[in-house]
Amino acid sequence: MNYYESKDLARFAEVGKFRKELMDKFFDYYGEATGTDGALTKREKALIGLAIAHFKQCPYCIEAYTSQCLENGSNPDQMTEAIHVASSLAAGMILVHGVQMQNVLMKHDAM
């Protein structure tokens, strides 16, 4: 058995079997935030979603947002740039902690 099954994505709503009202609020919020054109277009939102899906490495979201990006008119060049944004932020988040490292190095009079 795999922990992640593609077909399970279609069962997402079943999480609302208990405390359905909370899940309903989530779906309303999610649909409004991601599925409508606002100050950002649905295409831009889908690219943000794809980048976050990769950052959080969620297989469900990667599958869903790859389709979302295609169905909102993005192409592989644009989608790949989006995940490079996520990737470079992740790298930056590691590297900026180098300042913490240097603070400690200085504390130990080691730099």
């Binding site: 277009t41 295409r43 389709s67 295609l70 169905e71 909102n72 008119g73 192409n75 592989p76 060049d77």
Partner: protein, 341 residues
Amino acid sequence: METLELPLPQAQTYSFEAALDSHKLDLKPLSLETLQINITKLCNQACLHCHVDSSPKRTEQMDERTATRVVEILAQHDDIKKLDITGGAPELNPHFEFVVKEARKLGKHVMVRHNLTVQFDGNPQTGASMTHLPEFFAEQGVEVISSLPYYQEFYTDKQRGLGVFKKSIDAMRRLNDVGYGKPDSGLMFNLVYNPVGAFLPASQVGLEADYKRELKEKFDLVFNNLYTITNMPIHRFAESLKRRGGYEEYMEKLVNAFNPGAAEGVMCRSLISVGYDGRLFDCDFNQMLEMQVTTGVNGSTRHRTIFDFDASELMQRNILFDAHCYGCTAGAGSSCGGATA
């Protein structure tokens, strides 16, 4: 000894009529505004998603008798305003130019589904040149509708074959040079987008803006409108989905995206499709599935052809639906003229 009967896996079926019933939709014919004729299955290309399974090896051609009958029907019916000529590559039928000229003399709006590359490839069976097509189209004042799956080379060649994008760009330039797509020329040049894979098309308006910007900036090309079309889960595309195990997933995507508004605008309500052999169908997809128009009542029903064309009976017909019709009703809808909702 008792036999244990194991349930056999059943192929999933998708009832389009059930979807219509659940939305209380009764899709009757509205008009016979467009006569769409598929005059050949011969094509210089063999595209991945072609619902006609056209290729350079196909031999089916509308003959002179049938082509002449098409012209007669156009002459007899003022309510048929448009002639939509498709294939294959329709220019590869020997009677193509006769039909175009006669239809234009009758004042009909003529649309040609022109694949662009045939201008350079010519007839794959006879070697006949087709370089004159832009001038012929312009002289006749026909609307040219051409598939360009994407404004980039990668997706276009993936779907239509290596080198097709570059050839299509050159062919578009020749059409632009005679006035097609140019403001005030009166020569309409429309492009068709269909997804490269098993997903729904993006918004027609948004994609049209992308195509116009990219084709202008990179190639200095212009066109009028972009039509987005959903890939139909039949023939070559259905087979490729089944080989990859994606048929059920694609069908579920179409079913889940059923849009009653798109259903009301389906093209079969205002169109009759004519096969190369003169048989009548509700649309080009039904034609490829051999779902021939039948009219009459119990006991006296019969299949219809162009040779017994009866407009009043055709307006009373029951349009034939099947699972593939979900392709026309998903999302913003899909038709030979693009989105319908």
